[in-house]
């Protein structure tokens, strides 16, 4: 979204909103299928003021973000070193890739039961599920970043006296930064879309759980509140990372 056509984007939002309003108020569809904007707004106020099922709204948001953050931190701390090694040493990559290629496309829900069996119903299985979702895109981005480092950039650094470790720290890592940020964005995206799945088992808090619980009781208004909230928070996170990227990697796309 560029700023020049912000007006049009705004128009799109307004049109969508009006369409929602008109269709829901007209009574053409049941409020169960499509609650009115007013009902959703009321539900939002209710959740803000009274919380949802025992926890205030901020707790739900906080719990979800906490899980996401821990999972993502784990993915960062593992995917970057493993990815750097894989990108640099073809043999390491040959060893690691079969595992990644195999588990990457698997639906998280397929192996969630196994994770719960292994790690229990606490936050650890939820975080493991999210971390697995985060790991693959991050790893792949780092590997592709490293293998894109121009051979002659490394040679050049050696000609300036850089040794193996210097090469890793001062050449390869910064070279992969642009790809790393791309990876971070897809990775967070993947993790985020797995949030609801992760909060399916034995949770009593979290935005994902809230939506699931609301759908158990067919509280369409709460479902809409949850969805809108999740969408807005995701957009915010993405904006934050783009801002970070813009500040950390100003040369991106301009090499």
């Amino acid at each position: 979204m560029n700023t020049r056509n912000l007006g049009i984007s705004l128009l799109a939002v307004i049109i969508a909103f009006s369409a929602w309003w008109i269709v829901s108020v007209s009574g053409a569809v049941s409020h169960l299928f499509l609650p009115t904007p007013v009902a959703v707004w009321k539900a939002f106020l209710e959740v803000i003021n009274e919380g949802y099922k025992g926890s205030p709204l901020v707790t739900h948001i906080g719990e979800s973000l906490k899980r996401l953050a821990i999972a993502f931190a784990i993915a960062l701390l593992t995917a970057i070193p493993i990815g750097m090694l894989s990108g640099y040493f073809a043999k390491v990559r040959a060893f690691v890739d079969p595992f990644i290629e195999f588990y990457r496309p698997l639906p998280p829900l397929a192996y969630y039961t196994i994770l719960v069996l292994w790690l229990g119903i606490g936050d650890s299985s939820k975080i493991a599920l999210l971390a697995l979702a985060a790991f693959a895109p991050l790893y792949l981005a780092v590997v592709s970043g490293v293998s894109k480092v121009p051979k002659d950039r490394i040679n050049g650094a050696r000609s300036l006296g850089a040794k193996d470790w210097d090469i890793f720290v001062h050449v390869i890592f910064p070279s992969t930064l642009p790809d790393l940020f791309t990876g971070i964005r897809t990775s967070i995206g993947m993790t985020y879309t797995t949030l609801v799945a992760a909060e399916m088992v034995a949770a009593v808090s979290g935005m994902g759980w809230m939506v699931l619980d609301a759908s158990k009781f067919l509280r369409s208004d709460i479902i809409f509140v949850g969805i809108i909230l999740m969408g807005l928070i995701a957009v915010l996170i993405d904006v934050l990372i783009r801002w970070l990227e813009y500040n950390r990697v100003p040369w991106k796309g301009k090499e």
């Binding site: 049941s30 169960l32 299928f33 039961t113 719960v116 069996l117 292994w118 790690l119 229990g120 119903i121 606490g122 299985s125 088992v201 034995a202 009593v204 759908s215 158990k216 009781f217 067919l218």
Partner: protein
């Protein structure tokens, strides 16, 4: 997870209980904080579950000490040698789970379901009851389109007229009735014909061995809740209504659709019994498992003794 301490008469420092939102004694215990009152020095973690399947998984993962699951998931669990035992029947499912059909679908009897679409959550007590009902009426299950639907999806499908009937529980059941539905068969009627379903309290065997007194005392708390309900059902309904996301009147109606039993009543051989060899409920579990095998839901079934071993009567004894 519970941390062990001292001898067999001691309480654990911590206990994790997996409960479900079903209007029975355990929900009342949780809502009124009865267990916290009884065990002031024990940290009690309540974990909500939606299905017996997840309770089974949680027990297998060693994540909870006590749990509540339907008789069908428990039969599956025992068949798979999950390290747990039945220590209490939280309720016998009466009219709480029923087969509802849409009036406009023209279904008047179970036999009329041939060629119709019926929704039910697979692997649940309702699933067992539905298949039992079909079998009792001699209708081949393959003649009916049975769809694996979670309760909320049953309501959605119902509203859209995607299904003609559903075997399901509250709060969805009452919504179906309210929307052009009527009840064809109840779990109560099936129970009368021998196909009993119940919501079952299970305990990790190791936990029960370590803290037999705690289990005994927890059962006494449950008994207390049953008495409370029998004395003042309206007050109980008032307490449970918000937890059930409904009003007092409906909450009262819902509690009445389940049979609450005290531990003394459960000592009857008809239920858990008082001896390993004379537990009616072990037979129920065996029958359930055998039925699931017949329906090709699980591959094989263990012997009766295995089910009898999975009943723990000690906690019922005063």
């Amino acid at each position: 997870n519970s941390s062990k301490s001292g001898g067999k008469d001691k309480y654990p420092k911590e206990v994790t209980i997996g409960y479900q939102v079903i209007p029975n004694a355990e929900l009342l215990v949780k809502t009124k904080g009865l267990a916290e009152k009884k065990f002031p020095n024990v940290k009690i973690n309540w974990k909500a579950f939606d299905s017996g399947r997840d309770v089974n998984t949680a027990i297998a993962a060693n994540s909870i000490d006590l749990g509540l699951a339907g008789s069908v998931p428990v039969a599956i669990g025992v068949t798979n040698k999950l390290p747990y035992q039945v220590y209490f029947l939280h309720d016998i499912i009466g009219e709480a789970e029923s087969l509802a059909v849409r009036n406009s679908s023209g279904v008047k009897s179970v036999k009329d379901l041939a060629g119709k679409k019926v929704g039910v959550p697979f692997g649940s007590t309702a699933h067992f009851s539905l298949l039992s009902a079909l079998k009792l009426e001699g209708l081949d299950a393959s003649k009916v389109t049975i769809l694996d639907l979670q309760p909320q999806d049953i309501l959605a499908a119902w509203q859209r007229k995607d299904i003609d009937g559903a075997f399901v529980w509250n709060p969805i059941l009452s919504k179906l009735i309210a929307d052009d539905g009527s009840i064809l068969v109840t779990a109560q009627q099936l129970a009368d014909k021998g196909s009993i379903t119940a919501d079952v309290g299970v305990v990790r065997t190791a936990f029960a061995n370590d803290y037999p007194n705690f289990l005994k005392d927890y059962v006494s708390v449950l008994d207390e809740a049953v008495k409370l309900y029998r004395d003042k059902p309206e007050e109980v309904a008032k307490d449970l209504a918000p937890v059930l996301s409904t009003d007092e009147k409906d909450a009262l109606a819902q509690t009445k659709q389940l049979v609450w039993l005290t531990s003394a009543e459960q000592s009857n051989a008809k239920y858990l019994g008082s001896k390993k060899s004379e537990s009616g409920f072990a037979d129920v579990l065996l029958q359930t498992a055998q039925f699931l095998v017949d329906q090709k839901q699980i591959p094989s079934v263990p012997k009766l003794e295995d089910f009898q071993a999975a009943i723990r009567q000690e906690a019922l004894k005063k």
